[in-house]
Structures are given as C-alpha cells and as structure tokens.
C-alpha cells in the first residue's frame, strides 16, 4: 500500500505492507536508526517520535496510520549545525548516560514543552511518565527539561542539611 509521509521535512513515498510499524518504517525503510526500540510493547517510550508535532510511541502506530502526517525523529530536530534547545540542555545538564532512552526522552520533552512551555518540576516528571531510563535516575533529565524551558535549575543542586523535602521548582514542597 502506498504511503506518503513527511519525515523530518522531506516528503517520502513508499509501498509498504499494512502491518509495517512506524518504527520499522523509520529504521528499516528509511534507515533512520536514531529512533530506538526498547520494549516493543508501548511501555518504555524509547521509540517516541513526533507525529504532527505530538509525541507518540512509534512501536504502536502503523506506518499506514501516519499517511499524510509529519513525522519528526531525533535526526530531524537540529536546524543544520544548530542543536535544538532541548538537545543542548540534555548535554549541559548531563541528562544522559548510556543514551538509549535519549532520543525518545528528548522528543517527549519537546512535545511536553510545546504543550506546557514553563512547566513545574512535577509537571516535567508527570509529562515524562511514558519514558523509562535505566541509567540516570531521572534527576538530570528533569533538570535538562526545566533548563530548556529557560528556568534556572541551580536550586535543584542544593541540599539543605536536615531538610524534609528536596528543593523543587515552580511550587511548594511536594506533599
């Protein structure tokens, strides 16, 4: 079946089997292997891409369902040599270790900031609930997303002796 999908700004046309998953289309047909497969059961978010600007798990979308849509993968986020602000923030805040979750995490963060440009720390944690990371403990990922939104994250590095609650951004201590 013919599909026409605009991937990272370029219109692509292919004949695909209806059962081809979007993630396989991106990786195996287009060779865009930046999108990772983690669980293959819609749980981990490693395969997250943007479909018409919104985060989706590409292991749970058929390529034919994306007909006529715009897809953005991690390869399409930078503008030429200019990294996307979320990419810059992940590097500066050490938001990755092995990097396996990172493409999905970055695209989920881009989608989150599109919907909520100045999130609180809690909104970032909840907004990334569909993405698992085995390495970082999430702290630096959350910092990266807050930093990408233009907020100062220095407070997240302060530890007050004897404090009951960790410092947070954008609201009172978590209850």
């Amino acid at each position: 079946m013919q599909v026409t999908i605009t991937v990272n700004g370029e219109e692509r046309r292919h004949d695909v089997e209806p059962r081809l998953l979007l993630v396989q289309y991106l990786r195996e047909v287009l060779g865009l292997t930046g999108t990772n497969i983690g669980c293959d059961t819609s749980s981990c978010g490693a395969c997250t891409v943007l479909l018409d600007g919104e985060s989706v798990k590409s292991c749970t979308v058929l390529a034919v369902q994306a007909e006529g849509s715009r897809i953005t993968t991690i390869e399409g986020l930078a503008e030429g040599d200019e990294w996307h602000p979320v990419q810059v923030a992940f590097r500066e805040q050490h938001g990755l270790q092995c990097g396996y979750c990172t493409p999905g995490m970055v695209l989920a963060a881009v989608s989150l900031l599109e919907e909520c440009p100045r999130p609180t720390e809690r909104q970032v944690r909840e907004g990334l609930e569909g993405n698992l990371c085995r390495c970082t403990g999430y702290h630096n990922i959350v910092k990266a997303v807050l930093a990408a939104s233009g907020q100062s994250v220095a407070v997240l590095d302060t530890v007050r002796p004897g404090a009951v609650h960790a410092p947070t951004i954008g609201e009172g201590p978590a209850s």
Partner: protein, 277 residues
C-alpha cells in the same frame, strides 16, 4: 513483534465505515487510536483479516454543548478530553480522569470511543462514564440507537456494540458544581489501575454515582455504596460496602482480598474528596 498480515481500509465517513464492516463481516475490525488493538495484534492475540481505520473520520472528533448534555465524538482523543475547557467546566470528573489514562503518548493516540468499546474492566473512562450515567450513540445497519452506559459492558472485553456497528458519540450530563473524585491506585506512574474509583455527588434528581475500575469482569457500579448513601449513610459506613457484589481478579499486582481492601479505602477517599468540592 509483528502482527499477522491483514488488509487495511480507510473509512472517510460513518457510512463508509459501516459499509466496510458489512462487506467484510466478522473478519473485519475497526481501529481508532490502536492503543488497545495494536498491542493485542502484535502479540497475535487478535488477528483480524481486515482493519477498518476510522481515525480519519473528521466529523467524529469534537466536544460540544448539546442541550442538557455535553456531546463528545467517539474519536476524540484522551488528550483532547483532558484539555477541553468545556469539559473542565461542565464535567470536570471526565476531563481529569482522561488525564490519568496511560501517559502523554498514549493520550495523543487513544480515543474515548475505543476505550469504551474495548470494554476492559481495568480502563479508567468506562467507570467514569458509569458514575456519570452517560449514554452512548451507536450507529449500525438498522440506524442509530442510544445505549445507557450501565447497559454497555456485557462481559470481559465485551460490550453491547455489535460487530457491524460503530460507536459515534458519548453524551454526558452537565454536572458543574457537583462534587467529584477520581482515585487511581497503581504501582508505577503510567500503569493501569490496580483498583480505581470514580465518584460523583447527587444532584438534579440524580442519586450519587460511584463506579469501580478493575473489580470484576466489567467496569461496575458500586450499587451497595450508592444505596447506602441514598439511605443517609455517612462516607465511612457507605465505603465499607465497596466490595459488595464485586468479583475482583487476582494477578501479579494484587490478590482479590487486597483489591477488596483497596476498593473500601479508595471509595472512602473518593467520597471524602467529593464532599470537599
């Protein structure tokens, strides 16, 4: 994991979806957001021969006022239900609960209609629509009929919507100002509820609505709790009856006994919270 091969058809209107279903009979399956069906197909637990994609039917995605009710198109995604200003004002229980479904990626794809017709007792929105006493509109070869939510869920993953039919609309009452609560107990952030509770205070000639997630083969009304509240019981007395008439499953997450305990605790929390707003 790769699904068994199938043919793919795209419906452009309710009529064309019904015609495709009639043409392919029980070999065909509708797909909306695909976030219940595709995981099953990838595990080869579902092997439809023909998929009829209804996600592009433009006239089935909306939230609008319709007389006494708010009408929601079956293809409205969880994200759009969650962020609808109209629902936040008129039916906050539903807008809030839609934001508790899965994670943002799931909410960008999954639809309210798919969530209902999938008929999973562990899903959030079926219980919410039971507590709200909503109606659904079903289109079929013989025309359109209205099914009350309380008659929709007929068995495990089974609903009153026939294989040749399409759920087109959900109709919920306006309940602005009525107390409500949605309690979801799960182990990890984006998981299904181990047990959940949707509660709505009484109002406008309606009794209180209390419904349970994952306490039996279907989403359930907590009838004993509702009757006790109507009879003047306080929240603690009513909540003690939460497990009556339920047959909760036992699985990796919880034994039936633990689920019964959770139901009592969560109904109590829900009634207390509903009383404060």
């Amino acid at each position: 994991m790769i699904p068994v091969a199938f043919e793919y058809e795209r419906a452009t209107s309710v009529e064309s979806a019904l015609a495709l279903l009639a043409e392919h009979g029980d070999n065909a399956k509708l797909i909306a957001g695909g976030h219940s069906l595709l995981p099953l197909m990838k595990l080869r637990l579902a092997t439809p021969g023909v998929l009829v994609d209804i996600a592009r039917i433009p006239e089935l995605s909306y939230v609008r006022e319709d007389g006494d009710a708010i009408a929601i198109g079956a293809l409205t995604r969880h994200h759009d239900v969650n962020t609808s200003a109209l629902l936040a004002r008129e039916v906050p229980l539903l807008a809030h609960a839609a934001g508790q479904v899965g994670d943002p990626q799931v909410r960008h794809r999954g639809t309210i209609g798919g969530s209902l017709v999938h008929g999973d007792p562990a899903s959030d929105l079926p219980a919410v629509l039971l507590a709200l006493d909503a109606d659904v509109v079903v289109a079929g070869p013989a025309g359109t009929r209205i099914v009350p939510a309380r008659d929709l869920f007929t068995g495990f993953l089974e609903t009153a919507v026939g294989e040749d039919e399409l759920l087109t609309e959900i109709r919920v009452p306006r309940v602005a100002g009525v107390g409500w609560s949605f309690q979801k107990f799960s182990q990890r952030a984006c998981d299904w509820a181990i047990v959940g509770v949707a509660a709505l205070g009484a109002g406008d000639g309606r009794g209180p609505g209390v419904a349970l997630v994952n306490m039996g083969a279907t989403p359930l009304r907590a009838s004993a709790v509702e009757a006790a509240l109507v009879g003047g019981a306080d929240p603690a007395e009513a909540a003690a009856l939460a497990a009556e008439g339920t047959e909760p499953p036992g699985d990796l997450n919880a034994s039936p006994d633990f689920r019964e305990h959770l139901a009592r605790v969560l109904v109590r929390r829900a009634l207390d919270e509903a009383a404060t707003r």
